[in-house]
Subunit: 146 residues, 3 copies
Amino acid sequence: MTASLPRVHGAEIELQTGGGVEIHDLTARVEDVVRASGVVEGIVVVSVSGSTGAVTTIEHEPGLEHDLAAALERLVPRDARYHHDERWGDGNGHSHVRAALVGPSVTLPVREATPVRGTWQQIVFVELDNRPRHRRLPVQVVGVGR
Amino acid sequence: MTASLPRVHGAEIELQTGGGVEIHDLTARVEDVVRASGVVEGIVVVSVSGSTGAVTTIEHEPGLEHDLAAALERLVPRDARYHHDERWGDGNGHSHVRAALVGPSVTLPVREATPVRGTWQQIVFVELDNRPRHRRLPVQVVGVGR
Amino acid sequence: MTASLPRVHGAEIELQTGGGVEIHDLTARVEDVVRASGVVEGIVVVSVSGSTGAVTTIEHEPGLEHDLAAALERLVPRDARYHHDERWGDGNGHSHVRAALVGPSVTLPVREATPVRGTWQQIVFVELDNRPRHRRLPVQVVGVGR
């Protein structure tokens, strides 16, 4: 499948978060960016600029939001001792460690101008900082269009 | 290194899995997709459509399959309490949480029409659901060809 | 945003590591690769060839290097029993499991010939092997240029 025009399209998704472990479903907005990009076949990268949030996929329902938060609290507890907190005093050492483990971006195929994902698989931003944040998430679409 | 033709190629890798933590080596099949794509220099994205499996790289040998399963069981135990299970009753809350942590895709460079990886580093699908699944894994190759 | 020339550029970042959990900031060198690539708008993939290291982003400061190492030691302890070690005797079963969880690559948008990231968010290689390694990290830039 070879098309003629190489295309790269960039956009930002803006979010207001409340801090803590909070999952935001980005799927519809990523689909909008892809549709507007002119890319028919290619890939889409959804990323976070910042080191206390993460991007992944999950079935977005309240039960799993609670379960992922509980798992992260057990794996990287908020109240453990972090050298980061002793140096910088912002109390979010756990946020940085969690974000490095989950990861800063997700890349998915784009086909027929749509990100390829499962029916129950949403593209999500996970707020891991300990305070509300205004987030700007860069989305990049690369591929070929008509 | 600039070549003349932009290329995007998509394919699916199909798998039957047995459930539990099961590692499937995709390397040879991803290499076949890249070779067939016409892309000489670029990238390849291997992803999962679905929220109870993950894609990563590992040395694929039976000892590590056991070790990764044991680590995931310790980190996100199957028999812990998950709100997802109380709502949906399919008993795979642990699968969703594990999948969100490991991640839904891997992106690697393609050079000389081959994915770039280490000798002992295989591209793998990790089945995390609690039952056998038929999986279709989208593979996307983006780059330039001759 | 459509430009006329498709470009793919590959390079290697070489590193000497000391083993253990060691974080190496790759940001400046990735920026150099992107600048040299001729890609103005696109993406960059930073990966590791090898199954005992990982690529992610984190705020690179000594406190968090310690905190990430402590978290990984608690989550996947060096001295637990690994089937990998019983088969292969190199004592780095924990390194392989940690690397599969953190992941082998990071993909970020490129805009105005620069990787898009947060001010305090560095692109890092995490050495997870139990001995010093000479690493060659493939970096691939895909997009369009002038």
